[in-house]
Symmetry: C2
Subunit: 287 residues, 2 copies
Amino acid sequence: MGEGGFRNRETKITIVGLGLIGGSYAKALKKAGFNEIYGIDLQAESLEKAKAEGIIKNGYTDSKEALGKSDLVIVCLYPKDTVEFIRANMESFKPGCIVTDVSGVKDGLIDCINGFIRDDIDFVGGHPMAGKEYQGIDFSEASLFEGANYLITPSENSSAESISLVKELACCLGCSNIEVVSANVHDRMIALTSHVPHVIALALISCEDALSGKNFTGNSFRDITRVANINEKLWGELFMLNRENLAKQIQEFQNGMEAIKQALLKPSPDELEAIMKTAKQKRGELD
Amino acid sequence: MGEGGFRNRETKITIVGLGLIGGSYAKALKKAGFNEIYGIDLQAESLEKAKAEGIIKNGYTDSKEALGKSDLVIVCLYPKDTVEFIRANMESFKPGCIVTDVSGVKDGLIDCINGFIRDDIDFVGGHPMAGKEYQGIDFSEASLFEGANYLITPSENSSAESISLVKELACCLGCSNIEVVSANVHDRMIALTSHVPHVIALALISCEDALSGKNFTGNSFRDITRVANINEKLWGELFMLNRENLAKQIQEFQNGMEAIKQALLKPSPDELEAIMKTAKQKRGELD
């Protein structure tokens, strides 16, 4: 990569997978001043759109050329596809390049990649905590990551310089909190803060009265169920790859629901009000 | 009330309780062209603010005068206070007037009011499904009810004319769906669409990792927990008054969470994906 990281904006960047996330990376990085952005996608149509919009310089359905000249490769695929892409293209990466990803689970995935990655490539796990309940490059936008949390999960092999560059990348996207954590802490926390909310949305909209309640909804119901408009292939994979953490966090959440249900049955509202007071205070600290 | 309902905008309206909801009624009705709006509140300060902003013509800490001249009285108090206010001021209401409320529970409350209300007063239950996680007139706004659902729960004694007038009221506020339902259907549905979402927010923010997860949150976590910033006195009352319905709906939601947890433990993601597909379709029908 050389000195100065992104300072000169001449870094050659390849984005693999120009969907909602990959497309948003391309738009945000173009807006941040980068011009040497390449796209790799199986869909020639996505590449053409990206090129026509001027957010990539060139697009490739075959990976070899783009990978061979890129200093930074951002793999924006589903978790298992991320591993398989890196494995299948192992010989094409430029010596000394940095590879990062966007997967919402990290633990097994990074171990797996470290098992076969070349010594002269630095893999640094990344997870921009932003998204939408819609898929594809047409929904991508430069502002998708603005103000979002960005989690970086280096392995013991990642160099300080590479970690620093992925931090810079997150800054260029406009993320406001950048956190470096281990893969297993990442997965435990994400099970609660991202996976459980999606499970809640699914369970709530699955309730018998949910649809007959169409004219009875307020904002809270619509806010919670919004993410039930889910990409079942992606989220099925994320859930299954993180199933142990997720099952534990679901159980803890269930215990909280049960405690409130029990408090409801008490003759006095004191216990219920105490739960609410504590919760309100915690929510205040979140902002 | 005379013929024509609200058509001439000269109807004399009293709003009891100038908090977030009452203040928003006053602002929305003023904006809709009504000028004969009076306020009753225990806090002289709220009345002064409302008068200074020009959203009420006059404010009263003593109820008698305003009630004696009003064709429509909108009681914007907590559920139990609503019953007690109407009971305590029973002799002050103008003959032939319509009284409505904004309570988020209806079943026991309407029976109770019907037990003591004068024959020449028509009580029509109302529930605008809008609110905020903040309290007081300072947060009130004319647009609070725009696009919201408005539920009307008449009793067998409510006249068709009175029901029609409360519908007009909801139209004046800018509500987009107005539904007339029985009190018990209201309470069963609201338990799911309003009370369960608040219980979910409380249970989720109560999870052990919730605060250490501050840098791990995405929009879904923040959306769900937003309403945990709760008015514990009001919601404690709403929950306790609707405890049977709420306990049942919590149980059904819990069953849905459990089904997903069990699907996670299966070797294949098929069952999980099937749950997601059905949920996604249902969410689509909600919009």
